[in-house]
Assembly symmetry: C2
Homo-oligomer: 243 residues x 2
């Protein structure tokens, strides 16, 4: 019993990894039921504790929820995993009790430019969708957004109606389980941005730059500019972390 650490992975790690792959690759979607512990016990020919441990880790990672009698299910992906609350702007504004508005300024489809490191990093030399828009809270400009979408990662995006749905909101519901990197800095609003945001030129603004991946593939790269007084990013840390 027990192979000599087969494949450098322990049994519960292999079980965990198997389920994780199904989820991250999108084969099992949020809300889908995963096999019951008994089914996995049969499939892997191990004891129930081992399966339970594997699933338990996925629960702690927030990828799975378990319900007695019902079974275990793929979790709804959190809004960028819940620590730094940088969610969808529409959601954020509505949560503040303000009216949300949105105007699409531009939309174009083109090849990524070799000279542009960001574009190459996002989409190689494939096709890009470029979007520009402004978000409004209670009729006042709240953020200016410029976004690139890697079309090969999200082919449906070419048919999406971004005149009605903001791209961030649309992407959230079409590409779950993403990894993201955020970069936050302070900039002065240049003339065109200032005009769009209805603030004086050179007003201090938060610039939030975010690159998103799904399954290792670049999905979108977005620049959002917020007037400094209209938006705070808040993050709370308790002593806790997993690997």
């Amino acid at each position: 019993m027990r192979e000599p650490t087969a494949g450098a992975l322990t049994l519960h790690e292999r079980i965990r990894s198997g389920i994780e792959q199904k989820i991250l690759s999108g084969i099992w979607k949020p809300g889908d039921r995963i096999p019951s512990e008994f089914e996995l016990v049969e499939q892997y020919g191990c004891s129930r504790m081992t399966v339970s441990k594997a699933i338990g880790e996925l629960v702690q990672a927030g990828m799975v929820v378990r319900r007695r009698k019902a079974g275990s299910f793929v979790a709804q992906p959190p809004i960028h995993s819940g620590i730094l609350e940088v969610p969808d702007i529409q959601t954020e504004i509505l949560k503040r009790g303000q009216a949300y508005g949105y105007v699409l300024l531009g939309r174009s489809q083109r090849k990524s430019r070799k000279a542009n490191a960001v574009e190459v990093d996002l989409a190689g030399n494939g096709e890009l969708l470029e979007l520009e828009c402004v978000h409004f809270a209670d009729k006042r400009p709240f953020a200016y957004e410029k976004r690139l979408i890697n079309i090969s990662a999200v082919p449906q995006s070419v048919d999406a109606n971004f005149a009605q749905t903001p791209p961030g909101t649309w992407l959230l519901s079409h590409v779950p389980w993403t990894t993201a990197e955020h970069r936050i800095s302070a900039v002065g609003a240049d003339l065109p941005t200032a005009k769009l945001l209805d603030v004086p030129t050179w007003t201090p603004c938060l610039l939030l730059e975010r690159q998103t991946w799904h399954d290792g593939v670049g999905v979108t790269h977005v620049w959002q500019t917020f007037p400094g007084d209209s938006y705070d990013l808040v993050a709370t840390f308790a002593p806790s972390r997993s690997s």
Copy 2:
């Protein structure tokens, strides 16, 4: 065997919680060895699996590290738990390969002012230590910092030599396992700040405001102003989270 869900906590939760309390309260300090699994088995009169599960959760939470033969130890507290990298400024600058410098501008001890919500929230109506300083990277101003310390939470701070050690660095090594809340916004540098940072007035700056607690008690509240072009906050998210 097995009380009827005694105290609403399961056995492994009680074991976990017991150890956690010892760590969070500072009775067991980073690097200290915690009892071996066998000792805990005897102490709680349960099986080893149960103890192992409790410790395993603390490992996943990053509060404990286990080493074969040696035992299990209280982990070194992470720099504010590793997601939003807002570490100690000195560490950050040295990591960039720049020379670190620091000047203490002011230091005073006084009562917290009732009219000031931040001060009351931090220290009730107790004593405060107020510090102002500037951090330098390669001889150039990097950040202006204003800080309040709750003396009753960190009595040793009144004797600390902040002319030599920056308060952030000092606190990190004297008050581990803190909880923190960050608030990030963009502001223009006012005249005194601009002079200290050696930038033009009204330069866009990141304002990072951080309140820190230890064991439920306010420790420090700090405002750090960074010229917008000299500092980016970076945060990476993978699909994972614990409770």
